[in-house]
């Protein structure tokens, strides 16, 4: 069906195939012509200024040097001639001359670009070095200014060539003088240094290809896939065929998967056509490629790259389908395309950032992580756990977009003019629960950007911006947007007195359990010791008073992080999932917000425990106290070198025992979070919908 769309074939396949060689040939031809014109250029210059004679002398020596050079050694031979002018600047502006050489004197220490040391013998044909008398005032050095017009190609070329030629003359004269005065060898041969690259040609080619491969794929996927993606939902909506399709026996999932496959097939088809096209240019030597490229991409590497790039293709297709599903018409879908195209390219340029490793927060940024993984694979570094994490993260993002498309296919706005469903119309808590993930995704992105900007800033500023600017303001925005009751949303209730005892027991046990979780994860993803040391130095800088450290690292997080995570996030998830799932989800999100892989396991573990205590007690206060004491313990242990991280297994088991005892106390004194079991009531209702 796609092949019957002549416009599609013409714009996406035929035109690029025809236009690209024309572009290459045209640009090559014009470049060569321009080069030839500039090569044959006879440079006209005027000389002026009080040191005009010295300039003429220098030019004459340069001419002689160039004439004496054997043929072929001068990379840019050219002719130059002096033109007599009464008004050199006007002549330059009118293009009668290309450069003005202005000879003058510059105060000491302010030599011009072509300046040279002055001396009484400087006017003679061969400059000599003379010892400077201590009593005599230092004579002003001569200088030469090359005045040109930056908006005229010929003027720019002449100026640069003259500058090069004059500097080469001065260099040659200096070397000759030094050799004459007894220097055993030319200065550049004395204590010479050289660069030695030990990377294989394949590795060099691999890193270059790795920087752009994902970017190219995303580029082709988005441009090629857009042609069918925008039509496949928005176009069908406009034609009315979507309604017909939705009344067939096919499930929504089957429809979405079929559309995904179509988009990926068409996009890859167009990509392959363009690659084949490119290979033709390579064959015609219109596009240069590194000879060692084949060494970088072995068949095994190629297969791995294909597997790695698969979720990127699925994600690009999913994003296009989302835009198409969101739009009411094909035209509206086209409006969405350009911003999406630009946003899609942003993560794909991650490999171009210098010094950014895959083993960092980028590992959980979809597309960027695969782009980094592709680069590392191409340079021969196979960090399997991180590659797996990158693949899973991007695949999860692709699945999430597919789920979003399924949601759009089930949305009634596809069929009716009604804009909203009941939840959107009424707003409040149900709408907040629907959108809580999107809010925290945005907060995470903001935190990532802010943290990267403030990486070198004072720790106190970083914490204030993150905790108050991101978490607290974000929480206030959520409360206000959905008109949530703060007492309900933040669980501001008084727990039973015995709960406090349970929390006091839980803190040491929880800390040890969190450290144990870190050690367990360290088996899978080992953390270099220098990373931990660097982190400790950053978090516990010596120049911040200890009391302030305690305030910023213990009090503020216990307050603001609890409001965001055990307050709003937990409130948004309660009733939608089983209590255990809620605790795990809150913990995982809490771990992800710490933006470092090695901190994920302990913070997620702590997050799960804090969510559990909030669910058991129906109050945020115990979690705040626990969080405060836990961070306090961590700061004190680091400050006073208490070896919590180096206990034996028995120590951690004892910690787990204390934690169990603490949870037993909390369980015995539980006052569960309101609406904790609402998921049981919502489950049958959900299955009664018409939507798959």
């Amino acid at each position: 069906m796609v092949l019957r769309d002549r416009r599609l074939l013409l714009t996406s396949v035929v035109l690029p195939i025809l236009v690209m060689p024309l572009m290459f040939l045209g640009s090559n031809w014009s470049l060569k012509k321009r080069e030839a014109k500039l090569q044959s250029l006879a440079c006209r210059y005027a000389v002026q200024g009080p040191e005009a004679e010295w300039v003429r002398d220098l030019m004459s020596r340069t001419r002689e040097r160039l004439a004496a050079e054997p043929k072929g050694t001068n990379t840019a031979p050219f002719e130059f001639e002096e033109v007599a002018c009464t008004n050199a600047l006007a002549a330059l502006e009118q293009g009668e001359i290309h450069v003005i050489l202005e000879g003058g004197k510059t105060p000491a220490g302010a030599a011009g670009p072509a300046g040279e040391p002055a001396g009484p013998a400087a006017a003679s044909r061969k400059p000599e070095l003379r010892p400077r008398s201590n009593s005599a005032p230092a004579p002003l050095p001569r200088s030469l200014r090359l005045v040109f017009m930056g908006n005229h190609d010929e003027s720019v070329t002449c100026a640069h060539r003259l500058q090069e030629a004059l500097e080469a003359t001065r260099r040659a004269e200096r070397v000759a003088l030094l050799l004459e005065r007894g220097l055993p060898a030319p200065p550049d041969k004395i204590a010479a240094f050289s660069l030695v690259d030990v990377a294989t040609p394949g590795q060099v080619a691999g890193v270059n290809l790795g920087r752009v491969l994902t970017l190219l794929l995303v580029l082709f996927m988005l441009t090629g896939g857009a042609v069918v993606a925008l039509d496949s939902l928005a176009g069908e909506k406009e034609r009315g065929t979507l309604e017909t399709l939705l009344t067939t026996g096919a499930t929504r999932l089957e429809i979405v998967v079929a559309k995904h496959l179509l988009i990926i097939t068409v996009a890859l088809g167009i990509t392959l056509a363009q690659v084949a096209n490119l290979l033709v240019y390579v064959g015609l030597k219109l596009v240069p490629v590194p000879g060692s490229l084949a060494a970088a991409v072995t068949p095994a590497t190629g297969a791995l790259l294909l597997v790695l790039l698969l979720p990127v293709a699925a994600l690009a297709s999913g994003i296009l389908l989302l835009a198409s599903g969101r739009a009411r018409t094909y035209k509206e879908a086209q409006f969405y395309f350009f911003p999406l195209f630009l946003l899609g390219l942003v993560p794909a340029v991650a490999p171009l950032l210098p010094g950014l490793p895959l083993r960092s927060a980028v590992a959980i940024v979809p597309v960027a992580n695969i782009a980094m993984g592709v680069r590392e694979v191409l340079i021969g570094s196979f960090d399997w756990p991180m590659l797996a994490l990158a693949w899973v993260t991007t695949a999860a993002a692709a699945a999430w977009t597919t789920r979003g498309v399924l949601g759009y296919l089930s949305a009634e706005r596809l069929i009716t003019s009604s804009e909203r469903d009941e939840i959107e119309f009424l707003g409040g808590l149900p709408l907040f629960r629907r959108r809580v993930w999107a809010w925290f995704a945005v907060l995470w992105a903001v935190l990532l950007v802010v943290s990267s900007y403030l990486e070198k800033a004072d720790l106190r500023l970083q914490l204030l911006v993150n905790l108050v600017g991101v978490f607290f303001l974000g929480s206030l925005l959520m409360l206000r947007t959905y008109r949530l009751d703060p007492r309900q949303a933040l669980a501001l209730r008084q727990p039973r007195p015995a709960v406090w005892l349970g929390v006091l027991f839980a803190v040491p046990g929880g800390m040890l359990a969190a450290i144990g979780a870190f050690h367990l994860l360290n088996f899978v993803i080992p953390v270099p010791p220098q990373v931990l040391e660097g982190f400790q130095q950053n978090v516990l800088p010596q120049d911040i008073p200890f009391v302030q450290l305690l305030f910023f690292l213990s009090v503020l997080p216990a307050f603001f992080e609890e409001i965001a995570f055990r307050g709003l996030l937990l409130h948004g998830l309660v009733g939608r999932f089983r209590p255990v799932t809620v605790a795990v989800l809150v913990g995982v999100v809490f771990g992800l917000f710490h933006l470092a892989l090695f901190r994920f396991a302990p913070t997620a573990c702590l997050g799960v425990m804090l969510a559990a205590v909030t669910l058991l007690t129906g109050s945020i206060y115990p979690a705040m106290l626990w969080h405060f004491l836990s961070n306090l313990g961590g700061v004190l242990a680091a400050r006073f070198d208490i070896p919590l991280a180096h206990l034996d297994a028995g120590g951690y088991l004892a910690g787990a025992g204390i934690l169990c005892a603490a949870f037993w106390i909390l369980w015995r004194n539980r006052t569960p979070y309101p609406g904790l079991n609402a998921w049981r009531d919502t489950r049958p209702r959900a299955s009664q919908t018409c939507n798959e």
Binding site: T244, G249, A250, T416, S418, F425, C690
Partner: protein, 271 residues
């Protein structure tokens, strides 16, 4: 005098609708009850017509039965399959034809029939034979291999109807099928619908054209502002109102509903 409905053979209903309600929400209109607790049954070999003005709730009702809209309340079954719990089975049991022909412009008529037979679960080995059968039956052989976007409106309508029955479903839903057709094509369409009824299929049919309803429907439900105000055979409706023309009967019930608007009358059950 026995009820007109009792003249219909007492066979099991293929479509059962109970208290079906649909509420729309949007910023400009607020909360809108498009369908408000309607009840009716349809049986095999029957054309059941939903007669109402524009915006009465006909299309919304049919779309809920086709599972593309989710009921706000109430329940319905098609061939024993519940809308809520078995939407795919419901969709396989019915053919839905919307007010527009809604065909893929770059497919030929033959490809359209082939695609819809397959997607609705017609066994692969039977698809070709079924497509040929439909082409013969609907007389579209002359243009079976022409792209749909090059066909006239009448031809497209025939292809659309053939597509609706491609998988031979026992229940057919036609939402204003003669809208935009000239007299001759509209007559052809009515003949086709009557032929499907004669084959024993259940037909739900919505229209605002009185003559069409009068001519085709075995039973007529008069729907206004989301509620069914009368539901019976034409003879029974005439007897109940003392009016002969369906147009007058329709106006009678609409006026009656307007006069009772302040009293929130309950919907008439057509079960």
């Amino acid at each position: 005098m026995p009820s007109a409905c009792s003249l219909i053979p007492p066979v099991n209903p293929t479509v059962i609708v109970r208290d079906l309600t649909k509420v729309f929400y949007d910023d400009s209109r607020g909360e809108l009850r498009a369908v408000d607790g309607i009840n009716f049954d349809c049986r095999p070999g029957e054309i059941f017509g939903l007669l109402g003005a524009n915006g009465a709730g006909k299309t919304t009702t049919l779309r809920m039965l086709a599972t593309i809209l989710k009921p706000t309340a109430g329940r319905a079954t098609v061939m024993g399959h519940d809308l809520a719990t078995a939407p795919e089975a419901v969709r396989r049991s019915l053919g839905f034809s919307s007010a527009t022909t809604a065909l893929y412009p770059r497919l030929t008529a033959r490809e359209t029939l082939d695609f819809f037979a397959r997607i609705n679960g017609c066994p692969a080995e039977r698809v070709s034979a079924r497509v040929e059968e439909l082409i013969d039956r609907f007389g579209i052989g002359a243009y079976a291999d022409v792209r749909v976007d090059r066909l006239s409106q009448g031809m497209k309508q025939k292809v659309a109807i053939a597509r609706t029955v491609a998988h031979d479903p026992p229940v057919l839903i036609f939402d204003e099928p003669t809208v935009g057709l000239d007299v001759l094509n509209a007559l052809d369409m009515q003949k086709l619908i009557a032929a499907f009824r004669d084959e024993g299929k259940t037909i739900l049919f919505s229209t605002h054209i009185m003559s069409e309803a009068q001519k085709l429907c075995d039973r007529i439900a008069i729907i206004h502002q989301g509620r069914i105000h009368a539901c019976d055979t034409l003879a029974s409706l005439r007897a109940a109102t003392g009016l002969y023309y369906l147009e007058d009967i329709f106006v009678h019930y609409v006026e009656q509903s307007r006069s009772q608007a302040g009293e929130s009358p309950a919907s008439t059950s057509c079960a």
